[in-house]
Symmetry: C2
Amino acid sequence: MSSDASFLTPVAGGRASQQIVDQIVELLRTGELKAGHRLPSERQLAEAFGVSRVTVRDAIRILQARGLMEVKVGVSGGAFVTAPTADVLGERLSDVLAMSDISPEEVAEARLVMELGILDLALKRATDDDLAALGDICEQAEQAMVDDSYDPQLASDFHARLAAASQNWAVTQVAESFRGPLRMAALREREPVDDAHQRTVEDHRVVLEALTERDRDAARAAMVRHLTRGTSLT
Amino acid sequence: MSSDASFLTPVAGGRASQQIVDQIVELLRTGELKAGHRLPSERQLAEAFGVSRVTVRDAIRILQARGLMEVKVGVSGGAFVTAPTADVLGERLSDVLAMSDISPEEVAEARLVMELGILDLALKRATDDDLAALGDICEQAEQAMVDDSYDPQLASDFHARLAAASQNWAVTQVAESFRGPLRMAALREREPVDDAHQRTVEDHRVVLEALTERDRDAARAAMVRHLTRGTSLT
DNA sequence: GACTATCATAATGTCTGACCATTTGACCAT
DNA sequence: ATGGTCAAATGGTCAGACATTATGATAGTC
């Protein structure tokens, strides 16, 4: 680090809290700690690691920020292992996008890239179950439209289910992580679209039909049309 | 906070440290705090917020984990604002992938999706400068091969420059964030490829040529061939 | 007996004040 | 000039205490 003393102590002493984080992450990676497990109390950990409670708390804070832990207070509380979800990815993505003067159009386009990729995979792999589930969602949405009880969540569900049809969880998680930042970006150009929901429902149905017939060009075209509504995406 | 402050913030927030995080993030979002700025010292912040130093430290720890702050010790040290980069995204992505039994194939495929999307955008938008820069990188790599001084970094550079040619920073950042997790996934199936570098260099050249001629099909085919080397990606 | 209110308990959350470690720059001696 | 020493500012850590919260047991009441 300083000169060339790489022969000894590559440095065993960064921050103590960071070392604790590394140790715990290692336990998570090897599977010795799994989601749902509960860590010992802060005081016990402090004694076990030979540090003070503050140091342990620092470490737990970091793990919490990484989405690897969840802390509950009260008796039978403590630090619980949680499997990191796409949510934290979305939050970090939001940070990067929000602090970087990236335009909403760029974000929308990035999402379009992912959705088209998902569509390609889904065209190859969607099972009958996938198609049936997507059909259910479309039907629910259509029914809700006539009931005037439409919930935008249904639109999210459609895309989430479509991502699942790609049979690739990595892709699904990444796509999922776009939802938060996009919602936020959408809030900034609040277009008072009247029948946006109606068109969304129709678009989804068109995409699904093209997907069912394995018509790649039609499906892609429909998805592009669908996702370029409302934003000035050329 | 404790004595008379029941008229304000009835029970407003959960943790005090989280409220501080929120306040600072708000300053970052509005641009009142920008990269490079330095926060007051922990002691000053503690006094300003009316909390203890430990609480301030908790907050800074969280901001640090989110990639929004960088902490240096010593006089003229402190918490410095940093623009979050794709690096933290990649780290969180690594977490999600590592703790979730996602196969390397899935990650590779997810990356393929991004790269193909980038390619599509680059086909539409790559400028002469972009093509020239990519040409430079290819040439450097080719030269390095005969010198036997090839640096794998050149491969990363190629893809990074290609992403930049998409003229979309959001896409670029996301693609960038895949590099770390992928390198890690690649380590696990260490194939002792002899001429892998040689083929990489050749592949890049083919992609670039197809891109230059705006030959979408050829470019995509070359990219698929290039990225499906070594992994059992059907 | 069933339901409600209260209290004990155990855990995290926070505070206080101190000391340690590291870095920077100024000051001083050679 | 060069090098060493030292003081100041800052984050890192420590120790002990009190505050807050949620759970469960217990006592009291209908």
